[in-house]
């Protein structure tokens, strides 16, 4: 019975990683850059929800929408100021800039919101499910996170494959110069990618903080790194890969902690990652180039 409890905990943690990984993989797939500030956009999103809900008493749905809007604008701004001037620079320069943006956001949050811990109230009021005479509980937060993750994944795939803007993204990811020659506005497309990625970060933030309710300026950094790992695990650039990678990472982490050692859970996760990458260097779903967006 314990095994099932651990498995559900793993899926619960994994679904949070997955939803963050979707944003990572989307930006990487199209702009070909690792946006290390993604985790910190999540943190900012959480603070927006926290402040609007507890200080100004807004309805949870309204404050989540506000947070998505704010993060979308933040994502576009970051892209315009920090990444766009480096469009022709080495990928390494952009990577370092992303790290800089990440620290900038953390320190801004430290300055604006303070270093003290805030307790995030759960915005999800969906009731949980109890199975097997109460021995097995699936919380409403887990259900909402998994469902949200699947819906977002489906919408993203539809958007990319069926809409004109999505097709433009695919084209940019294949070959920026060729896409430009064919009349695609590369800058606008990349901005749109960042807007969507950052909007997703806000949603991920709300779900993450609902599941793990403390909020500090460093809240986003570790989940960000783990979700990045999940994205690499599943095949970075692949949207279903991010989902599978996130869920697997969560399950491995929890089962490793439960059955092998609670101290070594991270070591186990990364050992599995190394093995997967040795066997399949592109990650679990990395091979299917046509799905790579």
């Amino acid at each position: 019975m314990n095994f099932w409890v651990y498995l559900i905990n793993g899926i619960s943690l994994g679904s949070v990683y997955a939803i963050i990984a979707l944003g990572y993989t989307m930006v990487y797939g199209i702009a070909k850059m690792l946006n290390f500030a993604h985790g910190d956009v999540i943190m900012i999103g959480c603070y927006i929800v926290f402040l609007t809900m507890t200080r100004y008493g807004l309805h949870p749905v309204l404050s989540v929408l506000l947070s998505i809007l704010f993060c979308t604008l933040l994502g576009i701004t970051i892209e315009k100021i920090a990444y766009k001037p480096l469009r022709r620079a080495l990928p390494l320069a952009v990577l370092i800039t992303a790290i800089g943006v990440s620290y900038f956001l953390q320190n801004m949050a430290l300055l604006v919101f303070g270093a003290d811990t805030k307790s995030f109230s759960n915005v999800i009021t969906v009731p949980g499910i109890t199975l097997a005479d109460g021995a097995l509980k699936i919380s409403g937060t887990t259900i909402v996170t998994v469902v949200a993750c699947i819906i977002i994944m489906a919408l993203l795939l539809l958007f990319i494959n069926k809409t004109k803007a999505g097709q433009a993204m695919l084209a940019v990811s294949e070959d920026k110069d060729a896409a430009q020659l064919m009349g695609v506005n590369v800058n606008a497309t990349i901005s749109l990618t960042f807007a969507i990625g950052s909007g997703l970060a806000a949603i991920a933030g709300v779900l993450f903080c609902s599941a793990y309710p403390t909020l500090t300026p460093y809240t986003g950094s570790m989940p960000g790194i783990k979700a990045f790992t999940a994205a690499v695990f599943g095949g970075i650039g692949s949207i279903p890969g991010a989902f599978i990678g996130g869920i697997l990472l969560g399950i491995i982490e929890i089962l490793g902690r439960a059955y092998i050692s609670s101290q070594l859970s991270d070591a186990i996760v990364f050992a599995v990652l190394i093995v997967v990458l040795l066997v399949k260097p592109t990650g679990i779903l990395g091979k299917k180039m046509h799905e790579k967006v």
Binding site: V5, Y6, P213, E253, Q263
Partner: protein, 415 residues
């Protein structure tokens, strides 16, 4: 390029871990600036008065001069001010009751701003003013620096609240508070004495010296006391958001009490997740848990019934605490915190040691120091922060542990 990315991600990961580790340590310093500046003026005028008295005293040789060092301005001012206030109340009481063996005491507080260098300067300045015994420092880092100076001078030093084991490496330094690892011993002792539970689960941060040190001594002591550790689970700085597995293991193993020797930020997640899974053991924290009620928007109902090891509860009903709290509130308009009680006890410990040895103010600093440090292991002092305090030659205190329980969203002493 992929290789490069991986390398950089590893670097970033470790950098972020470091950054997070750094922020863990900053828990200790959160003073109120407004209170600070007004206190500061009061302090400096008081210090001026006292130093005048001290010069007279040193000249006539008729008074014991006790120096106090602690942060009275800056980030840790809250602690230093409380300690100096507590000590001053003790000095006032003793002098009103005829002093120590008929000799009056002069207490000289000095500010070190929680800085090792300034602390050594403060020490030198106090020596110039005729200090014979040092009550300080309040915080650990300055205390380690000053302890090296007092060892050279052979001066007797007692710290109210510097809790690291580094502080008492020299044989002339004694502590009023428990050393960090001794909190583990004290917690186990308390749980066994009060028969809170027999099946214990532990969750601790294996990447943090403070937490893993307490865990190690707790486990050792629990075994000798016959407490059964049914689950001993770790987490690290990299995975401190999800505690469901650790809690699940404690629950499956039938733990009636879960020991949480780490800071309140993580503890608040543990409490939330335990509540979510319907697991309600007794939770027992150490001094890192202090502050959980101050987390903004935290649902204090979750912390209801949580125990935490702390030497002093201002609402305790014993006569000594009641009179101390009243005197403190009358003089300083505040409710005393544990640092005030620690320093108050430190002065009474000095009094007990002097009475035992019969040293007189005309003896040299070194003579007094040697006599006092020799008699410390034979003393037993009842104080606000523990009854029957005794010391071993190393300087670490041994006393009955005390805990408070969280009741109706506030700290309350255990009845």
């Amino acid at each position: 390029m992929r290789k490069c990315n991986k390398f950089i991600s590893a670097v970033v990961a470790s950098a972020m871990v470091l950054a997070m580790a750094g922020c863990g340590g900053s828990n200790e310093t959160a003073p109120s600036q407004a209170a600070q500046s007004s206190q500061q003026e009061a302090q400096s005028s008081q210090a001026a008065d006292n130093s005048g008295a001290a010069n007279d005293g040193a000249a006539t040789g008729g008074q014991f001069v006790i120096g106090g060092i602690g942060p009275m301005t800056g980030g840790a001012a809250l602690y230093g001010l409380a300690a100096m206030h507590g000590a001053e109340i003790a000095v006032k009481e003793i002098n009103a009751n005829g002093g120590i063996n008929g000799v009056q005491i002069v207490f000289l507080p000095e500010d070190d701003q929680h800085d090792a260098e300034k602390s050594v300067n403060a020490y030198n300045s106090l020596k110039d003013q005729g200090m014979q015994i040092l009550m300080g420092c309040v915080t650990t880092t300055p205390c380690v620096a000053v302890a090296d100076k007092t060892a050279v001078d052979g001066m007797f030093q007692i710290t109210p609240s510097a809790s690291s084991t580094d502080v008492i490496e020299n044989d002339n330094v004694f502590q009023v508070c428990f050393t960090d690892p001794n909190q583990g011993v004290a917690s186990a002792q308390y749980i066994a004495d009060k028969k809170l539970a027999t099946k214990i689960g532990i969750i601790y941060d294996s990447s943090d010296v403070y937490s893993s040190g307490i865990e190690a001594t707790f486990v050792k002591q629990a075994e000798t006391l016959g407490l059964e550790i049914v689950a001993d689970e770790a987490f690290t700085a990299d995975s401190k958001t999800d505690f469901s597995t650790q809690l699940q293991k404690c629950q499956s193993a039938g733990a009636e009490l879960v020991f949480l020797p780490f800071y309140y930020t993580e503890a608040s997640i543990v409490l939330t997740q335990a509540n979510g899974m319907g697991y309600a053991p007794i939770f027992f924290g150490v001094d890192g848990m202090d502050g959980i009620l101050g987390v903004e928007n935290f649902d204090t109902k979750l912390a209801e019934g949580v125990y935490l090891l702390t030497p002093f509860a201002a609402d305790a009903t014993d006569a000594a605490t009641v009179s101390f709290v009243k005197a403190y509130q009358d003089t300083y308009n505040e409710t005393p915190i544990q640092f005030a009680a620690d320093a108050y006890d430190a002065i009474y410990i000095i009094k007990a040691a002097i009475e035992q040895t019969g040293v007189t103010p005309d003896q040299s600093v070194e003579e007094i120091g040697n006599a006092l440090k020799g008699v410390m292991p034979t003393l037993s002092v009842d104080g606000l922060t523990g009854a029957g305090m005794t010391w071993d030659a190393s300087g670490a205190v041994s006393k009955a542990p005390m805990a408070v329980i969280i009741k109706d969203g506030a700290y309350a002493s255990v009845q």
